[in-house]
Amino acid sequence: MDATGFDAWALTLAVFLPAVGALVMMAVPRARELELKMIALGASLATLAVGVYLLFAFDYGNAGTLQFGVHKGWIDAINADYILGLDGLSLPLLILSMVIIPLCVIYSWEHIPEPGNAKALLILMLILASGMNGTFVAQDLILFFVFFEVVLLPMYFMIGVWGGENRRYASLKFFLFTLFGSALMIVSFVALYFVATNDAGAALNTFNMSELAAAAGGDLARGTQAIIFAGLFMGFGIKVPMFPFHTWLPDAHTEAPTVGSVILAAILLKLGTYGFVRIALPFLPEGAAAWAPWIGLLAVIGIIYGALGCLAQTDMKRLIAFSSVAHMGFVMLGIATLTPIGINAAVFGMVAHGIITGMLFFLAGSVKERYHTLEISRLGGLLKSAPRMGWILAISAMASLGLPGLAGFWGEFPAILSAYEPGAGLSEGLFRTYMVIAAVGTVFAAGYLLWLFQRSAFGEPKPEWEGHTIADVNRYEWAAWTPLIIAMVLFGWVPGLIFGMVDDVSIGIAESISAAVGGS
């Protein structure tokens, strides 16, 4: 799978260009903000350029196999190598994170939150970018883990330094929750190294993800798989976040600065779901089959629960944050069905949620900037005071509630669809019940989003804003938002763009699962 020429370097560049940018910025004194911003923008755009190259050079014919592979020695002592690879599953998410980061940089151009210090903020963003890109292309468990963890500290600081009132608590909570998950996750990784066998029963003793995936659990007992899966579940499920572990999310989102929320919602959450699809399912098919009903249950609980949580919110940003719980519920439901269509839906859901919720958080940030509050009851008449922003909010809300013709729909509908016939011998009755519950969830989604829209955008502006001039979308915001809006519509009408990439991979995963489950 090893690539040659530039291809061999493409992924490495994609991962480390931002980090290099960060290093360069460290050398530049804080006072020279323009240069700093330029460098940040340049680095992120350069990364995006690599992404564009990847998009074109990618061989969609066999999206199921890893491409642009790099395989170098790294830590011989523990057989952990520097392996990068890109397949149809990684590609959309990688591109997503490559797109979001420059947009965040552009948005930050004039929106450096209190207490300022653009240098630090941008550096953290670039480090985040490296971590996220790395996670999506790493093909070695240890490498994956490293990148998976690298994103923690920057986000911790982003929330803690530029966050709102309650930032200390929120940031620490975010960190401890995630760290707890990943600590158990790494134990599971090591366990995988030692116990994973090929079908012959011989120990693999490797961290190479493609090998482990190929082994598909080998002849591991269902019980063992379930135990190890539990560790992974903690690691990824907390990150997603799944229902009982979600409590860190609203706090983190609410407190985080705008770009922080955007990155968090758009990409960081995806690391968890990506982990499920990339690692948990293929490596431990039977463990997955054993856990799937519970994951599904938690998913639908999350859908309803998140929606209800939204309805109870009075703060716009917190409402959006809770909606993430609901949306990720759909993603997890798709994953839990262990079917190709479910996994496709999940990946599409990830991308769509990334675009839409990212957009919503941008909006929340700009609203906050103009009104200095996010109390829904105090907003209102946005359509009148800032029409363009109002309409953008309308589109985003519609997309978020899964309106066909916009991206959100393709994450929801197939996910619900997949629950009709779950794979790997899962109980049909159970999952059809989930299906109906999830369908009901879509109504709630419409409920809270339109309610939000009505309260914030419809009606006359509140008297307390007399005299305030509420500026409409400015040009930095246009620059940052237009791509997202276009993406919403584009993916809404041409969903094949993403399904085409992912399908092969998810078919492979689903087949190996059903083979393993059926085989035993």
Partner: protein
């Protein structure tokens, strides 16, 4: 000649483009006051294209069949023959390919069915290696709707250019009119269920946007939200139904699903699980209820009148609300098998339809707002259509859809014109005597009323009559109940509703146009831009009935050729023959009954108002009557049920509860985990209580924290205690090991 049929995608595309143009260039490039020209042009083009489509479809039918079934027996033969064709086409499983070549391809002996024209592009999206296509499916039913939608839309576009002139959001108004037209057209030519969902939702959004057109006032936005959310509720049904169908047939393609059922019912194909079909039908029924305002989800429709009147005419009378009816017709085989319409004598669809027709008519009596009356009348008429489909009268339903679109649109635009004249009020108590001031509006209004009431020879008469006929005759081979035919209850419903319809419409006429003018200001006739469309529609309200005249009517003129046009050309014979759908022979006396009822209704009301006969002030004197009246006035209290009880309970208590649960329980779980840690720390007595300084919800931390605080007691600072600890531990460990090992 089939060019337009195969490239039908152009038809929705054009208004979509005009939407973008208006939205993006509306203010800057074109100029706010001229945008309507863009819209009108676009729709005009589309109208022409639709007409082309109609013509080419008719010729296609002509080519494909040299024979028109004009009575039941022949129909049967045609059916059987057609089936062999269908199955012949069906066995190779490549139906839509077969559709590309001309209709003769499959037919055995000249009795062919016309296959729809399906053109599609693969790879819209794909999953598990299956490519899902996007494309268009054009057949008689589609063409019928194309005509209705484009015609009404065109007229409304023109009408609005005066009615909405100078509105603060003229541009948005026209943008969304275009978008709606586009979505509706996209919907009617959907090739697969997913596309259908897309169109379905999009028209919903447009209706949301247009109902909330004047969103500064809270009631409007409330109405808009209500409309959208009620529809979402129904959409649960749509999603689930579509999913069940996909699970059963492994395809989204409408064509394949229908054909498979057809084959199955002929035994020449695998039989889908009847239970699945039933479930799917019920689920889809929910969707119909919301979109087409059927009981019990009809409550949003009257509120939707908050939107501009032309919008009501277009969306909430003529087109969008019939989407549900259209969808039933589109997937008729599913429902036919699912509800076993052919053999039952009552079924969910028929009942809901009939019942809705009844309560809608009832409600129409208690309204003072002219638009509300029309709205409930719409509900009632939609119920009529659904009932027709429920009893197996496919053609009748579509025919009624066709006619109803025109006269109801006319009525709405008339009402609009009235309010335009009478100070933008819709309250009939502030009108009266307008016939003198606005003759055109009056005449057209009366004509349409007669049509709606079903008076010979107006359009409504013919379509309504066919529905009653369908209810009576039902399907071949079904038992008859007493002398009331196969669907007795439906027949009764139908008749009662016919009577009531006539009555309440006459009431409207009286309050609006007769008596003395009770409003203020000087009412005046609306300008041509508004009256001309009215007249066009009025004419249609008269002649539309001619599109499906029964044969006997034409025999004396020797014009059998023109009989049953809708049935012949609009019916998707390719699917319907396969499931053995038959057409009842016309019945003269049933027509008489219908007409009689209508006239009776008019007569009674006439007596009541004009001649002042009958129990006036009954509602004041008789408390039962009063109770009944308030019951109607309160719309059967359904709204209270929904808004106050259902929504209220969800939004306030449950959501609050959930939030509380979130903050106090879920977080507290972590909390209690921490409590454990803390208690474990408590064995080192008294230090613990002063712990827990930075008391966070993450009590795991707190617990650990205080645990640490407790442990610090070890650290007395006295070196000898340290020593004792060291040696003590050493001794203890040693002893333990010695004992254990």
């Amino acid at each position: 000649m089939d060019w337009i049929l195969e490239n039908a995608f152009l038809i929705p595309l054009i208004p979509a483009v005009s939407f973008l143009v208006i939205l993006l260039g509306g203010r800057s490039v074109i100029g706010a006051e001229r945008v309507h020209k863009v819209g009108i042009t676009a729709v005009g083009i589309v109208w022409v294209l639709s007409m082309l489509a109609a013509v080419s479809w008719i010729t296609r039918v002509e080519d494909s069949t040299s024979y028109k079934s004009d009575d039941a027996e022949h129909a049967q033969i045609a059916v059987n023959e057609g089936l062999s064709a269908a199955s012949a086409g069906g066995l190779d499983g490549e139906l839509h390919l077969a559709a590309e070549d001309d209709g003769h391809g499959a037919d055995g002996g000249g009795y062919a069915t016309t296959e729809p024209v399906i053109s599609e592009v693969d790879g819209w999206w794909s999953s598990s290696g299956v490519d899902f296509a996007v494309g268009t499916l054009v057949d008689g039913q589609t063409v019928l709707l194309l005509i209705v939608v484009t015609s009404i839309s065109l007229l409304v576009h023109i009408y609005s250019s005066e009615y909405v002139k100078g509105d603060r959001r003229f541009v948005h108004y026209y943008a969304f009119l275009s978008l709606f037209t586009a979505s509706m057209l996209f919907f009617v030519m959907a090739q697969n269920l997913v596309q259908m969902i897309v169109g379905w939702e999009l028209v919903g959004v447009c209706s949301f946007a247009l109902i909330g057109h004047w969103w500064e006032e809270r009631p409007n936005t409330d109405a808009a939200l209500k409309a959208f959310l009620t529809n979402r509720v129904g959409d649960i049904g749509l999603l689930v139904g579509v999913i069940i169908l996909f699970g059963t047939f492994e395809t989204f393609s409408i064509d394949e699903i229908n054909t498979k059922i057809g084959l199955a019912s002929q035994g020449s194909g695998p039989h889908p699980e009847h239970f699945a079909l039933l479930m799917a039908s019920i689920a889809l029924m929910a969707a119909v209820c919301s979109k087409s305002g059927q009981f019990p989800l009809h409550t949003w429709l009257p509120d939707a009148m908050a939107g501009p009147t032309p919008v009501s005419a277009l969306i909430h009378a003529a087109t969008m609300v019939v989407a549900g009816v259209f969808m039933i017709g589109r997937l008729y085989p599913v429902f036919f098998e699912g509800f076993s319409i052919g053999t039952s004598s009552i079924n969910l669809m028929a009942f809901i339809g009939g019942f809705t027709a009844l309560i809608g008519a009832g409600l129409a009596f208690a309204q003072w707002d002219i638009k509300k009356v029309l709205a409930y009348s719409t509900v009632s008429q939609l119920g009529y259509m659904v009932m027709a489909l429920g009893v197996g009268a496919w053609t009748a339903a579509m025919f009624h859809l066709f006619t109803h679109a025109f006269f109801k649109a006319c009525l709405f635009l008339g009402a609009g014109s009235v309010s335009h004249a009478a100070h933008h009020t819709f309250d009939m108590r502030e009108m009266g005597g307008l016939r003198k001031h606005m003759p055109h509006t009056y005449k057209t209004f009366v004509i349409s009323t007669l049509a709606l009431a079903g008076v010979f020879p107006f359009a409504g008469f013919w379509s309504k009559d066919e529905i009653l006929l369908g209810a009576y005759e039902g399907q071949e081979g079904a038992g008859s109940f007493l002398f009331l035919g196969q669907y007795p209850l439906m027949l009764i419903f139908g008749c009662v509703v016919a009577l009531m319809t006539a009555a309440y419409m006459t009431r409207v006429i009286w309050y609006t146009f007769w008596g003395e003018y009770r409003g203020h200001g000087h009412p005046h006739e609306s300008p041509k831009v508004m009256t001309v469309p009215l007249w066009i529609l009025a004419v249609m309200a008269v002649v539309a009935g001619a599109f499906n005249l029964p044969t006997p009517v034409l025999e004396w003129a020797g014009l059998e050729g023109l009989a049953h046009l809708v049935q012949t050309y609009a019916e998707p014979t390719h699917y319907l023959n396969a499931i053995g759908l038959s057409h009842p022979p016309p019945s003269f006396w049933l027509a008489l009954v219908g007409l009689g009822l209508a006239l009776a209704g008019i007569a009674i009301t006439f007596m009541y108002f004009w001649r002042n006969a009958g129990p006036h002030g009954l509602t004041e004197r008789n408390r039962y009557a009063k109770a009944g009246y308030t019951f109607l006035e309160q719309k059967y209290y359904l709204d209270h049920l929904y808004t106050d009880i259902v929504v209220g309970s969800i939004k306030r208590p449950i959501a609050r509860a959930a939030n509380w649960f979130n903050d106090n329980v879920i977080d507290k779980v972590v909390n209690t985990a921490g409590e454990g840690a803390r208690d474990s720390g408590r064995w080192i007595y008294r230090w613990i209580d002063q712990g827990t300084i930075d008391n966070t919800v993450n009590a795991l931390g707190t617990g650990a924290d205080s645990g640490g605080q407790g442990l610090r007691v070890m650290q007395t600072g006295k070196v000898q205690n340290y020593g004792s600890l060291l040696f003590g531990t050493a001794a203890v460990v040693a002893i333990v090991f010695v004992i254990v090992l």
